[in-house]
């Protein structure tokens, strides 16, 4: 990685940073204000050993937007989203969810968050229905609501027939869907989905997209990470391009695209396009 590992700001500086933002930057976090973005990231840093995974990410996700996070493999998308959802403590930086500081007051912020992480297991010895119910009860919801919503979610995600099957026996796509249901059960205001369409069949993907669209239409906010530009271009209204742990461009899809297709613009921003030659032996 070419980024020099400059030292992250110390905690005191972090706090003043946050305070300055809440007063200074107009668009950012005025606590609980109507104008507060659904998600605000400021100066997020994460380093694993010598490897800087996220190098100072600043990002505002407007409330009510369908936000796409795109970037090449190893860009730090998953790390950023883990820090934005309270699963990974940042070395420095701050996160606000609808004006609530996530790392200072995790319980309040996490109540508004629905998360679908990538590359982690589920409690897969539970059945699909059990897992969704468990996720609801864990959040302190009452049983009647949980039961009703579990049935709705199972139906909406085409899982009703497999509700009594162990999640460990689910296919990859079904697993994604049941995880999505667990993220939706408490009706969060902000949904953060890491690679939600990976391994999901086209019919289910269409269903999920329409669920997400109607969720956004009724005031919810969705963040999806993906490396399928086409999908992001069609589905999202906002997009951020991330590479090497930094945000290269962010804004509405039209702004970021600037007349090109998102894919071309992405390659232009990120660079590293090969010549397509060099594997002369790979012929049959």
């Amino acid at each position: 990685m070419s980024t020099p590992p400059s030292p992250p700001p110390d905690p005191a500086e972090r706090r003043s940073d946050g305070a300055a933002l809440s007063t200074g930057a107009a668009s950012a976090s005025t606590p609980a204000g109507r104008a507060a973005p659904a998600l605000a990231l400021r100066g997020l840093w994460k380093r694993f050993g010598d490897n800087v995974a996220v190098a100072g990410v600043d990002l505002d996700v407007p409330a009510g937007s369908f936000f796409g996070l795109v970037g090449p493999n190893g860009a730090g998308k998953t790390t950023t989203l883990s820090m934005a959802t309270g699963l990974l403590r940042p070395d420095a930086g701050a996160v606000w969810v609808h004006g609530r500081p996530l790392w200072a007051d995790p319980t309040a912020a996490k109540r508004m968050l629905g998360v679908l992480p990538d590359g982690v297991r589920l409690f897969d010895r539970l059945t699909g229905a059990q897992l969704i119910t468990y996720a609801g009860l864990l959040r302190g919801m009452d049983r009647a609501t949980v039961t009703e919503r579990t049935q709705d979610l199972l139906r909406a995600l085409d899982l009703a027939a497999d509700a009594d099957k162990l999640v460990v026996d689910y296919s990859a796509g079904m697993t994604k869907k049941v995880a999505l249901a667990s993220a939706l059960i408490h009706a969060p205001r902000l949904l953060v989905l890491d690679e939600p369409f990976e391994a999901v069949d086209p019919v289910s993907a269409t269903n999920i997209r329409s669920i997400l669209h109607s969720y956004v239409a009724t005031g919810g906010t969705v963040i999806v990470s993906s490396h399928v530009m086409d999908l992001v271009e069609r589905m999202c209204d906002h997009v951020a391009v991330v590479a090497q742990g930094r945000v290269l461009a962010a804004g509405t899809v039209a702004d970021v695209r600037g007349g090109l297709s998102l894919e071309d613009r992405f390659v232009e921003l990120v660079g590293g396009r090969g010549t397509g030659e060099g594997l002369a032996w790979l012929r049959t």
């Binding site: 403590r89 010895r125 539970l126 059945t127 059990q130 864990l138 162990l166």
Partner: protein
């Protein structure tokens, strides 16, 4: 290819050490322990060179057979045993079967237990330094013996891993685990016979063992030294056939596990409705407890942690004199082990732990739920064992003392486990893996955490232990009542304290725990 596999094993060991300084401490610990054994045993082996042939044969046959049994049984019982080179990882590489077996077998010698065994086996050559023929025989015997150990360990673990990992097993037949362990019975009765008859029985046992696969390789040099060429030849053939047979078993088991990975075998299991999650109270604590109980039933890793419990009475029966008071230790010991069994609960969750973090479940609800689940399993078992052991020994006067010690230990252990699992994660088999496998280089840390944890636990339960033992020895009813009081009160206080402290750690360190389980996955 073979050299490749050994290099791979060394590289895995080295990289495992690079991940955390604790791994280095663990390995140093294991190496020191191994070195201690080697030094003491080497002195013994050298001393044997000046002892009459008959006695050397007896000593080495018994020691060798014990080593073989250790290699065969320990990997099945302990989860801290190395399974770094899981053959399933080689599925996609076109490695010829023969070379894979040879490579994995030799790689099994790399590591502390393998090195110690090999060194000591070769050390027997010194004991047999009585002429070229015996030296040669000792060398052949040692190689065959080590091969029996290593190949046997691989064969049994691979064979049983398939059994343990299969769906039918996973669906609650955790008891099956006990069956191979029951093989210990005959061995223990042998030990009991020695206790009864004194050392007189040893030569007889050695003679018998020398005609079994366990002892044959170690007895070959003795035959050569006394000129019994016929039996030397038969024993050599027997030992060689054992190694060959084990290799065939291993190869068969390997083929089976490679061609039909247990994870996908069998029909999908179904549960009507919500099961326990629908029945326990609809609160976060209730949900956690229900989820953990489902795992106690469905996850073989939890069953494996309980496997020693039904075995304890058998073990103690043979250790103690018949009808002796040692049997009364069954319930306290089981309570100790069962209470400790949730000390790795977060590690057992693996990366699925994200749900706990992301739903901001309170530390109290999480800790309390896990304790409740463990208590539902262990309290009835402990009480039954306590009453059962008193009945067996006919010491009804000791009932209160045994109950007091068992309850006190169980509550304290649950409390301590609640703290430990929120603070110290050690590598455990991942969900779906064989409960007998362990992660790369983890066994040292594993051992260290458990050792320290057990020491602390012993210190915490010392009050009821001392009063209880006094009550049993003196047959004092008043002291028995005092034990029950101390056990209940102190245990309850420590349990609450442990859950509260564990809850605070959990609330503060949720993301750090998450990062650790991700790093171990």
């Amino acid at each position: 290819m073979v050299a490749h596999l050994i290099r791979l094993k060394l590289a895995l060991l080295r990289n495992g050490l690079r991940r955390s300084p604790w791994q280095v401490v663990g390995l140093a610990f294991a190496a020191l322990y191994g070195l201690g054994i080697v030094v003491i045993a080497c002195a013994g082996l050298i001393a044997l060179a000046f002892v009459p042939v008959a006695e050397v044969t007896v000593a080495l046959t018994l020691a060798g057979a014990a080593a073989v049994v250790g290699w065969w049984v320990v990997p099945l019982v302990a989860s801290g045993v190395d399974a770094t080179l899981d053959p399933r990882r080689f599925v996609t590489f076109a490695v010829p079967r023969r070379q894979l077996l040879l490579g994995l077998g030799l790689a099994g010698v790399v590591g502390v237990p393998g090195a110690v065994t090999t060194l000591l086996a070769l050390g027997t050559v010194v004991s047999w330094f009585r002429g070229p023929a015996t030296v040669l025989a000792a060398l052949v015997g040692a190689l065959l013996g080590v091969a029996t150990c290593v190949v046997g360990a691989r064969a049994w673990t691979t064979l049983l891993a398939g059994l343990v990992g299969s769906r039918r097993f996973r669906e609650g037949a955790g008891v099956l685990l006990v069956i191979p362990l029951m093989l210990l019975g005959p061995l223990l009765s042998g030990i009991a016979a020695v206790v009864a008859d004194g050392a007189q029985a040893l030569p007889g046992i050695a003679r018998t063992l020398a005609w079994t696969p366990l002892g044959a390789p170690w007895a070959i040099p003795g035959d050569v030294a006394t000129g019994a060429w016929g039996s030397a030849l038969v024993r050599t053939l027997l030992a060689a056939a054992t190694v060959g047979g084990l290799a065939v078993v291993w190869s068969f088991a390997l083929t089976r596990s490679l061609e039909s990975p247990p994870a996908t075998r069998g029909a999908a299991a179904r549960t009507r409705g919500l099961g326990l999650i629908g029945r326990l109270p609809g609160t976060p604590t209730g949900a956690v407890a229900a989820r953990c109980l489902v795992y106690w039933v469905r996850d073989p890793r939890y069953a494996a942690s309980l496997v020693i419990v039904p075995l304890l009475p058998v073990l103690l029966h043979f250790v103690g004199s018949p009808g002796g008071a040692v049997m009364l230790a069954v319930a306290p010991l089981s309570a100790f082990l069962m209470g400790w069994s949730i000390s790795a609960d977060v590690a057992y969750d693996g990366t699925a732990f994200w749900l706990q973090v992301s739903s901001a479940v309170s530390g109290r609800a999480d800790r309390a739920g896990r304790v409740v689940a463990a208590a539902v399993i262990s309290v009835p078992l402990t009480l039954a064992l306590a009453v059962g052991s008193v009945w067996w020994t006919d010491r009804w006067d000791a009932l209160l003392a045994v109950l007091g010690m068992s309850i006190g230990i169980l509550l304290t252990a649950l409390g301590l486990s609640s703290v430990v699992s929120a603070r110290f994660l050690y590598p455990v088999p991942q969900s779906g893996q064989s409960p007998f496998s362990s992660s790369t280089g983890g066994s040292g840390v594993n051992l260290l955490t458990q050792l320290v944890g057990w020491t602390v636990l012993t210190l915490l339960v010392l009050p009821e232990l001392v009063v209880g033992v006094l009550a049993i020895v003196r047959g004092d009813a008043g002291l028995g009542l005092a034990t029950l009081a101390v056990g209940l009160v102190l245990g309850a206080v420590l349990l609450v304290a442990g859950v509260l402290l564990g809850a605070r750690l959990f609330d503060r360190r949720g993301p750090e725990l998450m990062q650790q389980v991700v790093a171990m996955a």
